[in-house]
């Protein structure tokens, strides 16, 4: 609790970000338990209703309640983003730590693979993987995770490399730690800060990419909505039923804002001079 206190003290952006993200987390939790309407119920009689009355945020072209879908979408979108960040962070950290710690041939081999991955625009890589793995939540998660892993690996590698030059790693070795225990006990805990920082920024990127994939028709398939998917499904009604585009768009924007604010605060908290790469 004291860490949270320290983190929030004097950080308006942290408090604001935390507040916003809590709102969306609550929405996600609420959406799993209760929604004003069935988010999947197709009701051709009530299609494209403007906001108001029974439908707080109106309905889409299938007569589904936008507000309910936003709530359920919160769960889906946040799950997908956080799981893909988890995939990226776990695999990227392991790979980056190995490359940075052992350097030499291991580094070069890993570097080649990572370079090949990183040179692929992540959206295009995801496009390929989604098409290959098949559409669905897990395809998207794997795709985004894999395409972000090199970024994490790169940062972890750089951190580990700079740590390698620090005396305490030598010192740990000199005390008889094996490579494995040096890596796990001494090196990795010091990567937490940069990984936490890049993790938040990746969360934002993941949310965006999921939406972009959905936009291109390669996202998470309906009926379970994600915000990106909702935007993609309803984008052609931007001219007539602007609420359909505004609601998920604002939800995405606000979440991004929250995450970016949190990310800045985290960066500030861990190391005021670190910047995202």
């Amino acid at each position: 609790m004291s860490i949270l206190n320290r983190f929030l003290t004097n950080r308006l952006n942290a408090s604001l970000g935390l507040m916003l993200i809590s709102v969306f987390l609550l929405a996600a939790i609420l959406g799993s338990v209760w929604t004003p309407h069935d988010p999947l119920l197709v009701n051709f009689g009530d299609r494209l209703r403007p906001p108001g009355g029974d439908y707080w945020l109106g309905t889409d072209q299938y007569g589904r309640d936008t507000f309910s879908r936003i709530l359920v979408g919160a769960r889906e979108s946040l799950t997908i983003s956080s799981l893909s960040v988890a995939v990226a962070v776990v695999s990227g950290t392991v790979i980056g730590a190995l490359a940075g710690y052992f350097a030499g041939l291991v580094d070069r081999a890993i570097g080649t693979v990572m370079d090949a991955l990183i040179a692929f625009p992540s959206l295009l890589l995801a496009l390929g993987i989604v098409a290959a793995v098949g559409p669905g939540k897990y395809g998207v998660i794997v795709a985004l995770g894999v395409s972000y892993a090199p970024g994490v690996a790169r940062i972890v590698r750089a951190t580990v490399m700079s740590l390698r030059g620090r005396d305490f790693i030598d010192s740990a070795r000199a005390l008889g730690n094996s490579h494995a225990s040096t890596l796990i006990r001494h090196v990795l805990p010091n990567c937490i800060a940069p990984v936490a920082v890049i993790g938040t920024s990746l969360f934002a990127t993941a949310l965006l990419s999921e939406s972009a994939l959905a936009f291109l028709g390669l996202g998470v398939p309906p009926p379970n909505p994600t915000w990106g998917g909702m935007l993609a499904d309803t984008k052609q009604f931007a001219t007539s039923a602007v609420w359909l585009v505004l609601a998920p768009g604002l939800a995405i924007s606000m979440t991004l804002l929250a995450v970016n604010l949190l990310g800045d605060a985290l960066r500030d908290f861990f190391d005021p001079r670190m910047e995202q790469v």
Binding site: V42, F44, Q61, Y62, A131, G134, P222, K235, A238
Partner: protein, 516 residues
Amino acid sequence: MKKTLRYLATAAGLAMLVAPAGAQQVTLAMPGDIRSIDFGVNRDGNTDNVLHHVVEALVAYRDDLSVGPQLAESWDVSEDRRSYTFTVRKGAVFHNGQPVTAADVKWSWERLLADETGFLCQKWFKGGSLGIDIQTIEALDERRVRFTLAEPNGLFLVRMAHKVCLTGIIHPDSVGPDGKLAQLIATGPFTMGRHEAGQFVELNRFTDYVPLDAPKDGYAGSRETFLDSVRFMVIADTAAAKTALLAGDIDILPRLDPNAIAEIEAAEGLGVKTVATPEWQVALIQNTDPLLKDRRIRQAISHAIDIKGLTAGATNGLGQPNPSAIAGASAFFGPFFQEGLGYDPEKAKALLGEAGYDGRAIKLITNGTYPFDNISAIAIQSMLQQVGITTELVVMDWASQYAAYKEGKFQMMVMGFSARTDPTLMFDVVVDSKENRANAIADDPELIETVKKSGVSGDEAERALEFKKAHQLMVQDASVIGLFNPARSVGVNDRVEGYEEWPLESPRLWGVRAGG
């Protein structure tokens, strides 16, 4: 290349002479670029839509999907029904000014039938599955040409008019020294203009075009042209296309989403035209699947789907519910074909109980590309839920779904079949034995036999009976559940006059005028 340029220059010059003031242009959205000018060889729907303005076949479909005259003003069928003699339209000239002769027709056809050309539908006319086999093509005089078939076949003209395989007549100079099609010197009301890959294709008015002396009727009849040029804009994104129509950046938007009709109609200066099409929206059930091979379960699914409700919702009330392969627009259609197994949730539940359905989820494949597929799938899922059948929607990209369909690797799938002008052809799409082709769905032997008979027979009444039988068998088999014939709408700017939709819903820009 040089020749093309010079030709284009003169064409443009002529156009300027004829229409000196206020050149009339109409812009139309197209979801993808044309693949080539090599009609029938490297084509897709977009390519066909554009090239049908430039290249003409001897015959073409009318509004009622029967075959009518196009480059041929008339034809005779011999007693033995093996010979067809066509007379080339009077005054027809190629884009280079040369008159169209019977020899040109013969040359064009022989080119298409030659192996080197790579004409995709070569087998439709030479020893293919439906038994059409052209034996000889003779130029009888300047304007008459005779095709002789090995056996009589009722589908010959239907095939010849087919939109997908444009059997176009072109001038021999179109072909370059390497034997490949280098340019289109054809007979259509438009000539090829600028083509910016991925952006647009422009067609210019062919000023020497002499139209047929018959009213405009589908692709057939008069193709008299008033526009100086037509631009097909490539707009991949549906939302972008609609925006462009609203913004006035395009004049015509085919395949308007039914949900957007109200908005376009309400918009100032825009209108919507809607037409019923012979396309057929279906749910396919794989009867080799361990669960779905039980006919009772398939019938339960059929009973559970309220076709009327689904059609009304999915097409915004514009489509026609149709459980049969006979298009609502077809001459063979009648109330009989509107009868399916019938919407009956109780019956469905009973059948499921009988079959011992254990609630296993069925994967229902659909795609994000075609809105009718998507919305039908969503509605079907919702309806099946009501009788206790769990379905899991799998939304693929179109290519993946198509591969699954072709290989028969699926449990359930929602599909839309594009227009087939003859009922036999539509039945043929889904009916066959599974050994014969993997994408056959309904493989009841009696059904296969019935469909085959319906195609060979030349007698209309006899065919009608066969169709009825085939329909009944297919409904009972319940591997193919017909849903509806969709209606297609097109958004049109009010400044465009005379643009009309027809059941094949391919754009037709002849007979169209553009106001200021």
